[in-house]
């Protein structure tokens, strides 16, 4: 509908998917020739080639985003004939303690924060470890790669249903197996915190680690073997090689992976919606879930759009910080 920027739309999909996001990691291809007189003409041609995408981007991303900003300045209930203009009231409400939306909104923002902080490190470290192992010359490496990637192919509805059964506190397989080993068999995996967070993060890592693994693996393959040889000759061990060759070599890829992982985690919706229903109370209701509920279920499009923009501002700041940090390191 009309929730503004694409990143904060209520799509239940949290996987990074646009190839366009790869752009920042491709080093600027600026050949000296471009700076000469013919450069202007070439720039013009480039714009012509970019135009078709620009049109699509304008119509389907930019225009709705601006429209969303406009909506956020109104008491916008799409069911009613009149959408009264209220200025910044929707935003003010969000920052006024005790208002209709502020408590719930910030609770949902903190839920999103908890999930992001808990899931992003795991979604970087585990895939890096898996990719490093797969990068060894081992038998059946391709098979393992396929196995690790497999869950990523499934939709969130599928993994939600599967894990809801597996993690059911009373009749779930997980508790049953734990019980068989003499461990507690009544852990409320989907019902109470902190276990609900462990479930949500665990399921998400299981689900999406394949994507990050494959990207990092491609990055690893791109590091010249000669660098490793040179390092060996300088007497570097496995760990030194990892920290001095692998990590610097992966930096541009890592920046991409970090950025899309943070954005994907911050946009988590489906897992909470299906596994925990946002409970206990509303403690695992993420920002996107609350925005979707406000905008699409309760028809408070104005408030929902304002929330989307606040979330967007947070993500924009985080992305900028992330880019800055990575750039400084590489300089």
């Amino acid at each position: 509908m009309t929730l503004p920027p694409r990143r904060t739309s209520c799509s239940s999909r949290t996987k990074p998917s646009t190839v366009a996001n790869l752009a920042p990691i491709v080093p600027a291809l600026r050949s000296p020739r471009l700076r000469r007189a013919g450069g202007n003409r070439r720039t013009g041609i480039a714009y012509v080639f970019l135009a078709p995408f620009l049109v699509l981007f304008g119509v389907f991303v930019l225009a709705p985003a601006v429209y969303g900003l406009w909506i956020s300045l109104h008491n916008w209930n799409p069911l009613l004939p009149n959408q009264p203009f209220v200025g910044l009231d929707n935003y003010i409400q969000l920052f006024t303690p005790g208002s209709l939306t502020s408590g719930d909104f910030w609770e949902s923002m903190s839920a999103t924060g908890i999930f992001t902080v808990a899931s992003v490190p795991l979604l970087l470290v585990v895939p890096l470890a898996v990719a490093s192992l797969l990068n060894q010359k081992i038998k059946g490496g391709t098979v393992f790669r396929a196995i690790f990637f497999a869950p990523y192919v499934l939709g969130v509805a599928v993994i939600g249903v599967i894990w809801k059964y597996l993690l059911d506190p009373q009749v779930g397989v997980v508790n049953h197996v734990l019980g068989a080993f003499g461990l507690p068999d009544n852990t409320p995996w989907t019902v109470d915190v902190p276990w609900a967070w462990i479930s949500l993060v665990g399921v998400t890592v299981w689900w999406t680690l394949g994507f990050n693994t494959v990207i990092l693996l491609a990055g690893l393959k791109g590091i010249s073997p000669e660098l490793y040889d040179a390092a060996s000759m300088d007497g570097a061990g496995v760990w030194k090689k990892f920290t001095n060759v692998t990590l610097p070599g992966l930096r541009p890829v890592m920046m991409f992976v970090t950025t899309v992982t943070i954005l994907a985690s911050a946009n988590m919706f489906g897992q909470s919606y299906l596994l925990t229903k946002g409970g206990p109370g509303n403690q695992t209701r993420t920002a996107i879930m609350y925005i979707a509920d406000q905008g699409l279920s309760q028809n408070q499009m104005g408030a929902a759009s304002a929330m989307s923009y606040v979330l967007f501002a947070f993500l924009a700041v985080i992305s900028v910080i992330n880019f800055r940090l990575q750039r400084e390191k590489s300089n």
């Binding site: 799409p78 009613l80 059911d168 019902v191 409970g279 206990p280 109370g281 279920s297």
Partner: protein
């Protein structure tokens, strides 16, 4: 039901006032009456009417086309086009479709949606249609007509009701040495049975904190203790009254006493009943069609009376006539004929796990001969309570589930949870009033 008769009196007064006002001013956003319906049978020119419903699952996708075909055969001048959609899609598409004159002529909605549609001006006032079809409140279970009434105007004509009941696993009762012929009916016998089950190592009722079914159980108990969800004008939440606290405390006590596990997952209770892990489950009449229950020896009865009076939660569905831009009166009249015919032929609707609203159909002994499991649910209807009719009410209702969830999981005491939810609900009700008026 004193309150209801007062409300009905008010309704008549307001309706009279409204019709006077209408006569004076026929333009504006006020919905016109669906007039021009004469008697039960439409006799005008041939029309095709469009019918939207959310019946996409269960037995309905087979049953409804059959009924519609039969109706079309019996009525030479009416063709009904059946258009099943997801309920959510209907709510999303209806406003624009109706305003563009492309909505259905007749549709079915849940009781708690009628007022929201009406407040948007999407519905024709149904008072005239009800009158010309000869319907009286007494043709339906007590209070059901009111569930389709908003602001003193009748917008919905009842189609089905779905009360809650107590599902019993007889195998579990027998194994625990209890007599399945002696199902508890009041608090005393219910708690005794739960205690006996606990002694036998069975947690007799699994209490959950989700809409299905913890919220429905809480509402039933709230009414049993003499409380209500909202005040009469639906401007204030009253579910945090003493009655509400007693109701929710009963649920948390069942958990505290160890009669229920803690942290029950959604649907955990019906699954436990099916797998013979528990003896009792408060659940809706729709579970009578749950084939998973075939595995066990089960029975359904009325919910036990825990509080001071008999009461049980029920939802309902209603017919509504759409106020399309340029709505053809003949089509509305034909739709009314269709509604009347459907209600008369609704006996087969029990197949879907819902009870036909029409008293005549429901009281026909043939219904129980075919669906004996429905008996306790029919018997409950005289004291059933239906969903609140107020525009946008679903947001305030959601706060109740949050409260039940928090209390059942021990995050808050029942009183704290209900007070917090009521404070939130009051804000939402205020917002609803500001936006939808009424």
């Amino acid at each position: 039901m004193k309150k209801q008769s007062v409300r009905r009196g008010l309704a008549v007064a307001v309706a009279l006032g409204a019709s006077v006002a209408l006569a004076a001013c026929s333009s504006g956003s006020a919905a016109p009456q669906g007039a021009g319906v004469s008697g039960a049978d439409y006799s005008g020119p041939a029309v095709t009417i469009s019918f939207w419903n959310g019946w996409t699952g269960g037995a309905a996708p087979v049953l409804v086309p059959k009924l519609v075909d039969q109706f079309n055969k019996e009525h030479k001048n009416i063709v009904v086009k059946n258009n099943p959609l997801q309920w959510g899609d209907i709510a999303a598409k209806m406003p624009l479709a109706v305003k563009a004159g492309k909505g259905p002529d007749v549709a079915v909605a849940h009781g708690d949606d009628i007022a929201t549609y009406a407040a948007q001006g999407l519905l024709l006032k149904g008072d005239d249609i009800v009158k010309s079809l000869g319907y009286q409140a007494s043709d339906f279970p007590d209070g059901l007509m009111d569930a389709g009434n908003y602001g003193g105007t009748q917008y919905g004509i009842p189609w089905s009701v779905t009360p809650m009941g107590l599902y019993v696993n007889n195998d579990v009762l027998k194994a625990a040495g209890l007599d399945p012929a002696n199902i508890p009916t009041d608090k005393d016998s219910y708690m005794k049975a739960l205690a006996a089950l606990k002694t036998a190592g069975v947690q007799g009722e699994w209490v959950d904190g989700y809409v299905f079914t913890g919220t429905f159980e809480f509402e039933s108990l709230l009414w049993q203790f003499g409380g209500d969800l909202f005040n009469d004008g639906v401007t204030k939440a009253t579910f945090n009254s003493d009655a509400g606290v007693q109701a929710l405390t009963h649920m948390t006590d069942v958990i505290k006493a160890g009669y229920s596990p803690e942290n029950v997952a959604q649907d955990g209770n019906i699954n436990a009943l099916v797998s013979s892990k528990t003896a009792f489950n408060w659940n809706g009449v729709w579970q009578t069609t749950n084939t998973a229950l075939d595995k066990v020896d089960w029975a359904a009865t009325a919910v036990p009376q825990i509080g001071t009076e008999k009461a049980v939660w029920s939802s309902s569905t209603h017919w509504m006539f759409m106020n399309n831009k340029g709505q053809d009166k003949n089509k509305t009249a034909a739709a009314a004929t269709f509604v009347k015919w459907m209600n008369e032929h609704s006996s087969g609707w029990a197949e879907t796990g819902e009870l036909p609203a029409n008293n005549k159909v429901r009281n026909d002994p043939a219904l129980l001969e075919k669906y004996p499991n429905l008996k306790p649910f029919l018997d409950e209807l005289p004291y059933a309570h239906y969903e609140t009719s107020a525009p946008g009410i679903s947001n305030a209702m959601a706060t109740i589930t949050t409260a039940v969830n928090e209390a059942v999981l021990g995050k808050k005491t029942p009183k704290e949870a209900l007070d917090d939810a009521a404070a939130k609900a009051d804000q939402l009700l205020k917002q609803n009033k500001a936006q939808y008026g009424g």
